[in-house]
Every structure is written in structure tokens, then in C-alpha cells.
Symmetry: C2
Subunit: 525 residues, 2 copies
Amino acid sequence: MAKWSSQIRGEETWRDVMEWRARIYPDKLAVCSPGTSKQSTFKELNQRVNSLTNALIGLGVKKGDRVAVLATDIPEYIEIASTCKAGNVYVPLNWRLKGQELTYIINDSGANTVFVEEQFCDTIRSIHLQLPQVKHFICIDGSPEDMLSYNELIGSYPSDDPGVEVVENDILTLLYTSGTTGLPKGVIRKHRDTLSHLRMMNEDGRIRNDDRCLCMMPLFHAAMIHVNFAFIMWGATHWLIKKFDPEAIFELVQREKMTWLAGVPTMFISLTEHPSRTNYDLSSLRYIAYIGSPMPVEALRRAVDVFGPIFSQGYGLSENTGETLLTAEDHLIALKEPGKERILFSVGKPLLGCQMRLVDDNDNDVPLGGMGEIIFHSDHIIEGYWNKPEETEQALKNGWLHTGDIGKLDEDGYLYIVDRKKDLIISGGENISSKEVEDVIYAHPAVLECAVIGVPSERWGEEVKAIVALRKGMTATSEEIIDYCVEHLGGFKKPKSVEIRDELPKNPVGKIMKKELREKYWAAP
Amino acid sequence: MAKWSSQIRGEETWRDVMEWRARIYPDKLAVCSPGTSKQSTFKELNQRVNSLTNALIGLGVKKGDRVAVLATDIPEYIEIASTCKAGNVYVPLNWRLKGQELTYIINDSGANTVFVEEQFCDTIRSIHLQLPQVKHFICIDGSPEDMLSYNELIGSYPSDDPGVEVVENDILTLLYTSGTTGLPKGVIRKHRDTLSHLRMMNEDGRIRNDDRCLCMMPLFHAAMIHVNFAFIMWGATHWLIKKFDPEAIFELVQREKMTWLAGVPTMFISLTEHPSRTNYDLSSLRYIAYIGSPMPVEALRRAVDVFGPIFSQGYGLSENTGETLLTAEDHLIALKEPGKERILFSVGKPLLGCQMRLVDDNDNDVPLGGMGEIIFHSDHIIEGYWNKPEETEQALKNGWLHTGDIGKLDEDGYLYIVDRKKDLIISGGENISSKEVEDVIYAHPAVLECAVIGVPSERWGEEVKAIVALRKGMTATSEEIIDYCVEHLGGFKKPKSVEIRDELPKNPVGKIMKKELREKYWAAP
């Protein structure tokens, strides 16, 4: 038996999780890939990860070195990420990014190894001259002459734990934020904060060892270490799919008696409304987590009618993972008790050890019921950004994570996200949530996309402006949209002007770039 | 909102657990006491603990001060222990101990406050002159003139969190070992190692938020922070009983639809064999943990027939809590698969982050399949004993907890406890487990108690000796017992001599004092 750490107090890392599951569930399926022959038990997964790690060590990759991954949702992704058990730092790359953006992230992380799925090899070839510090390019599912072969590497190295000592303060991954402002920042996630988050995923039965799970978020997303790693930690079996296809998902749920799904609200709206839904037996589902935003109330009601009262959602950033949870029981209260429907717009209550405050610009607590920036202190917030001391200091002012989100609490202690701090509009001394105005405009049948921003006003300081793109073949005038807002909003919140455009500017992951929209109005004269 | 820690990384403590549960389950029952009107929801429990903590602060009790408790299993016990949320260190006292032993423990701990149930007030009065450092005697369930009243204190102080900053390395409790050798030692348990253990109690559904639980171990036992605290942490409701009475337990299980029981094997044997059992509906039970030792195979078979395949057991000491688990699934494999029955004699496999080795006297790993001292490295082993630097160094040699137990592993990775290290007999170069010989002798119908020890032998180094007490009205000679052993044991393991006595010497909690038995033979001439 290998001798591990010599310190008195043991520290749990991803290595412990992998070894434990291989020991307890050697023959249980850990990861499956429908439509392929690829599947691993917990023991096989650990063995493949050990072989891969030993191969990387053979190539000269040392503890703390960064290894980047450019791939879709394939089982090898889980294996590459899991080499963090020997202290490698994996860096997921969003395959929707362009060459220049990939170059920036790979170079900023200082990765010396890049894993590439064959379909992206040409993208990497097109930028490889700009990646001077990368020593190893490894093709995951092919054997091109100019790259190493993943399968040959795995087959050539022993499957014993490499015996690298890892502690809870070692870095596990760098998660690059998509960044609607400025350049992407590498969020440093360590073993300690990641495991602290993963433990929450087991609290009160969120993930159980008898679950059969599917997370429909791409693996380059933070959901990888927040959800897929949680499936492994809690001994559940999980499936990976390459794209969202409702019919294929129904088929999978029925065939594999799936119990657990996660995805964004639009996915569950599609599944609820899909005409083929009733052809399948979906009764095995016991838990659905929707991620990223609240669901429209009527859509949620229909989803609960169809799938049962099994929906939950939480709130967190890459910088702290989930801090709050709106449980299935909360959803039921909201749907059944008179006057409680508002709870559906909340993100729930803080989880174990999550301390939360709502503060003003000087970090003073706002009065109860007031709006303030949401700040957190907990065991799973990050300690910083990769090579960004100034941004780190700003985000972690006074030792609390400043989310940049504006929130408020109701009398029952539920948290509501009002807006991004930078998107809050202050007009005539009133705080106006751009998100609230956008929600109203989005409900207009002709509107495809919209962004609400504050623009300079001599009288009000700022005034509300909406920029709108219409659905194809639909029409609406600025006045009609303003009138529509007056019908549904307090008068001071209505846009003073509406600009109609063909489309709105977006970043590579599809988020609307409000910063760019604002610039034209706020540029120095 | 109070400002908590100013460090960047949050640390979870019992305070977080109490606050979290009060927030998530304000109206759910936390602790109940059958036959009394005493019950608290999670919010009420937290409020009462806050009032009690504020009262202690009012009396001048500061963070880090020790508060001792002498009481049976009453709800106030949970409240007193939970004042650790403000940094108090609670010291449970075994009410079976005599005045002199209580005096030693209270003084060794340096407690300045002693909580006493009324029935033990005279015991405390008889020793209070020997307790010069105790400033406050608090009677839990009465108002004697010479003590403070628990209920008056709780009623006189506000129920807000006192706002004392506690971190994971603060001490939570001192657990005094019963000690079959030497004086009791105070095992230092901190918030970090305790919470690390408590998290394990949730893994793979061991305790769920919909459980209704009863732990039949006394609250002065380590089970208090290992099991009762786990009920609170995982949002289950639990009941407290003052004594083990099978009929009352059946009645409680039926009435409250209990799901979860813990106790020692003899309790479950009594419940299984009790004639009234079939008068009750016990079908709500889903999990039974037996603690302290394996169960005889036939007794376990009958218990599984009666209660279902819901039994599990683990292995741990006060110094490390549970490190291994033999799951319900393991029990099923053992009972159903040919050749696997031996698994029932094991204590299972190590849990998450529990690193285990079997070593010789020089801490070298023994060959696979061999016997060795069981040593552990994990996040929930202690860092030491209270004011005992030498014993600490010995127990934590090379940073690993030395259990003093001899174990071996089978080919499937299950751990078997062979003996206490100090009880292992080395005769003619063979390791002989005293426990194995005792198990055989105990099976003899005339034997009430027995202890097997090694005594000096010129030829063998040590030789096996049994000391036996017989059942009333039964007879057996030494030769008959030796012959019985020859029938059931390898010849080299049989006792060379058997001494028959009226009774065996025991310590206050009823453990046989082998050390005293050995002394006569090993005393210097």
C-alpha cells in the first residue's frame, strides 16, 4: 500500500473520491455514452485515469501543470479532468470560441498539453504557432501524424495510482469566464472548494447512489465539476450526450429508467411541450435541476403537471458554485399556497455554511427588504483569479465574494436576484432593474431579443432605454413597446426611448453585450 | 446581519449546521422525547441553544471553556452539547462512574461549569469540594437552592445567535475514554474532524432528511456527536429514550413510523427474539446500524428475516469515529452468495478519504493477507489527547492514528479485526488472536465470561491461558474446556491452562480488565 500524506490531518481531494468509489463500487457503471460502446465502471474509470495520468507523467507533465481540453461531451473528457487526482490542472475550452480566443486562454493558463477531439484538430493546427509553450498535442479520438494518440497513451501505461501527493489547497481546474466585459479570467478552483461544493450536491438527497443521471450542460461549462463530478462522488451512474434532442432524451430516460436531469429552463420547456412526450414512460424521473435562471411561472406549472413536483434550482457563479437552493418542496409551496407564487422567482435560501449579506457600495448591510449587492462567505468561494491580483482583490474585498448581482430578501428569507450590479439603472434616485423591464418587453409577442440599459439624462441622471430586435415577419413600433411597458410596469420604469435593430451584439457564448450597447452613449465627448 | 469571519475561506462548524437547519426546516421537528411534552423544531432548538449560550456568556463562560454534563438521555443534553456553536467545549460524563472517577475527569478537563440532572445532584454534592475550579453548578430539571436553574437561565436570555466566531480548528468536545488501562484520557474532537465524520453519515443515504431516528446508545457515549449530531445535520427527526425496553421501542416504531435505529448487537438480538414483536407493525424501518462488534451469524440471519436486509455496521474509535462501513448490500452478499459468509465477520471497507494500512511494530506494511496493526490517516482523526503529549505522540506516530487493533484484509478488500494489539499472543512464533479463542470458549454452554491472555513460557515465549467464570448452576472442568477448544480450533491455539474463577475483574463500564489478569504472571520476580 502506498504511503500518503505525512501530515496528521488528512485532507480530501479528487484522488480520495476516485479511489473510494473504485473500492466501494468496483463493478457499478460510472459513465456511459449512449449509442457508443464506451462505458466504464468506477473501477475501470479510475484505472483509465491512472493510466492517462501515468502517461502524462511519462511525457514530463508535473503536478500543477495545466492541461487544456477542446472537445464535446465524450467520456474521455471526464477522464482528462480527473487527472487532477495527481495534481494536474485541467482547463476546459469552449469549442464555440474562435482561434484567437482559444489562443488567449491557452496562453494565459500556460498549459503545456492540449487534448483535442479530432473534429477540432484543424482549429488547433491553425493556431499552434501562437502556442509556443504547448509541448504536447494529444488527439482524443484519432491518430493524426502530428499529434499523440490518446488511446495509445492509455494502452501503454500501468493503471496503478501514480502516488502523487495532493492536498486540498492544490488547484484542480481553471474555469475561464465567458466575460461580457473585458478579457476572460481564469477562475481558480481548488480541491477544497470543489469538494465542499460537491458535498452540497448530496445534501438532502440531491444526488443519491441509486440515481441514473443526465446533465445537459456542455462539459466545458462549470457544470462539469459541479454536477458531473458530483455524480461520480455520490456513486450515481451518468450518461453523456453530444446534443440536446428531446426525442433522444425521452428514449434514454425510458430505456435506462433515468432518475435525474439537469439543464437550462428552455430545455425543460421544450421537453414539456414536445408532441412525442406522451409516447414515452418518463415516470422514473425523481429530480430535475434547472440551471441559470428562474423559469416562467406558467411554463413551470405545466412542467410540474407533466413531470411531477420534482424541480429545483440554485444560484451560484463559477467563483463560488451553488450558494442557494430553491427546493422541490419550495416549488410546491409556491404553486399551492395562496400568495406564495413569488417564491418561484427566487433562487431559494443559502445552503450549509453559506453566509450571505446584501450590501451597499461601502459593504454596509442594506436595511431588511432593501436591494443590495449579494456577497458571500463560505467554504467554496474561490481565493482568486489566475494571474489577476487586482481583479482578485476587487472580487474578494473584505474577505467576502462580491457577486456583482443585486438581490433582495423576502420576509420568509428567500433571495431574489434583481439585476447585475452594472446593469442597474438609477433614474431620478430610483433603482430600476433592467432585467425587470426586459422581462416585460420579452413578453411582447413581436419581440425576439432585447436589452435595457441606462443612458445619460440631464434631468434624471440616467434614463431607461430599450434596444430591441423583432421576430421575423413581425412588426412593432417604439411607441407600441413603450405603451406595452406602461401597461405592465410602474411608470418611472418604462423606457423613455426604444431603438429597434436587426440584431443585438453577442459574445461567443451568446450573451448580449450590454457593455457594447452602452458605450456609444457614455463615450467621452 | 452579523458579520462573520473575515478570512477569505469559510470554514464549516456546528454553528453553521444549527443556523442552516433553522433556516431550511424552521417548523420541522428536530428532537422529541416520548412520554414527555418536550419537543423542539429545528428553529426552536437553535433558539434554545442560543438562549443557553447567551446565559453561559452572561455567567462569564468564554469560548474554549469546558462545560461538563452529568445526565441521562434527555433533550437538554443535545442543547448543552450544541453550545459548542459558540466555542464551548462540552465534556460528557458517564453516569455509571463513581465520585472519584467523575472528580478526576472534571478536574482533568478543567471544566468551570457542570450541568447536572436532578437525580445526580447528590453525587455532585458529595464531590464538589474536590472541584475547586468549577464556578457554576446548573441543575437541568430542578431548582435546588445550591444550584442555578437551567430553565430560569434559558428563560432569561435572548434567543439570538451570540455571534461568537468559531473556526474549524476550535475544540468541540473532550470525550473521555473508558480506559481498560491507565487513567481516562480526554480525546480532543474539533469542529473540523467532527463535521468531516458527520458528512460521512450522509453518504450513500445512511441518514436522510426524511428519516425518523432512534439511537439507543447513551448520550455520554461518543455516539452523541457521531450519530445524534448527524440526525440534526441531515435534517432528520430523532427521539431520545431513557432506557432500552423492547416493548416501548416496538410501540414507538409503530406509532412514529420510525425508519432508522442504532444500537449494540445484543439490543437487536433482544428485539428479534422478543415474543411481543409480532404484535407491532415495524415495516417503516429502512436502516439499522449495529455498533461495537460483529453480530453472531445465526442471530443476524434471524434479524434480517425479521427486519429485512437493512443492517449495516462500521468500525471506529473515539479517536477517529467511523473509518469503515459494512453496508446493507455487503450483508446481502454475505448471506446469499456461497462462500461469502465470512464477510459478516468483517467491518467492511474504508470510507471516503479514509486511508488505511496494516503495519508491523516499525510501521512497515505487512504482506497482503497478513495481520498487522490497523493505522489510519484521514480528515477525521484527532490531533491529540487533552494535556497528554506523550500519549498523543504515541497514538499519532508518523502522522497516522495507531488504533492498537490488529486486522487483516481478505481478497475482496474487507477488513477483519483480529484482536487488540496488546491482547495478541505470540506463541512459538505464531500470532494467536485471544479474541478467536475467547469466541470458541464463549460458545461452551457452561461459560458465562472468559478472558484469554498470554503468560510467560520458557519453551514458546508466551503460551495461551484462559480465565473463565461459569454460569450459575453449571459445571465444567479445565480439561473439558481445553478439549472443547481442541475440537473447534487449530491445536497450537488451544489454551495450555484454564483457570476457573467466580468472576472476572471489570472496569466501571463493564469491560474485562485483561491488564489486571496479566499482571500476576508478568510481574518482575
